[in-house]
Symmetry: C2
DNA sequence: TTGAATGCAAAAAATTTGCATATTG
DNA sequence: CAATATGCAAATTTTTTGCATTCAA
């Protein structure tokens, strides 16, 4: 992602190796809490990065629009590349699996909520909880 | 709610004034974080209740199915009476307003996710973020 | 050079847990 | 009476903040 530097500079921010590594770690993980991202960053072989820097890097990347997050469980936001935001997130409450489906499955919901209340729903930010096929079958 | 006692007993739990007050506070609030519930409980005139008891009471009431919660913002679950779970929660990220619409606006989403992945979505547990009409108009 | 970012350690929040005591059934 | 809940304080867990130092532009 060679234009990471440019995008950062466009906002008066700077390109640092920590930010590159955090972005890469999020990409590798697919989805991860700040804690998991921190772990993944340190696992890339480079020098360790303190949690505070990971939090700050995630904020910066989010402002840039390169990552986003959804609320997968009670106590932790789960970050993902912005590309993934083009999907609706599904979270299995049985096994913790996180999946995604194209946003258009929610088209009707979005338009009905708009008609009814004038509410502009941002579905990509939400996580829908439920049971995945496997857990559903194993819990009769 | 006279059968609160019965329902608790049916699970080997007990009816206490704290649990009654927490339930009442959730009802009064409509939606509230544990902290807000604790505050509302203490505001009912009775003796103050420590946060730990509020957390435990919310857990108990949730196990009973009398309250539920959704994830309204990053850092706090928002509890509500189970009755409210028959609605989809909408959260305005501009002003924090929390609204609700009947679950049927999500019927299509639920069935499409089921067809596609066999995923049983529990929409009532989710909060959909976005912008309410007012914030939408005031932020051109 | 100069402001932005980092690292570290300490401060804040938000929840949970241990345990003696009080209460319910 | 016996088991469950409470209250309180201490321990966790998660995230934020202050500040001296380092680094990118």
């Amino acid at each position: 992602m060679s234009d990471l530097g440019e995008r950062l500079r466009a906002q008066g921010k700077r390109l640092t190796s920590q930010r590159e590594r955090v972005l890469a770690a999020v990409g590798r993980l697919g989805h991860g809490t700040p804690e998991e991202v921190a772990e993944a960053v340190c696992a890339d072989g480079g020098p360790s990065v303190p949690a505070s820097t990971v939090y700050r890097a995630l904020d910066a990347l989010q402002e840039l629009g390169l990552v986003g997050h959804t609320h997968v469980d009670h106590r932790a936001p789960s970050y993902h590349l912005a590309d993934h935001a083009t999907h609706l997130h599904l979270v299995c409450r049985g096994c913790g699996w996180v999946g995604e489906v194209p946003l258009d499955v929610a088209d009707e919901l979005v338009s009905r909520v708009d008609e009814r209340l004038g509410f502009a729903a941002d579905i990509s930010h939400a996580a829908v909880h439920g049971l995945c096929r496997t857990c559903r079958e194993s819990t009769p």
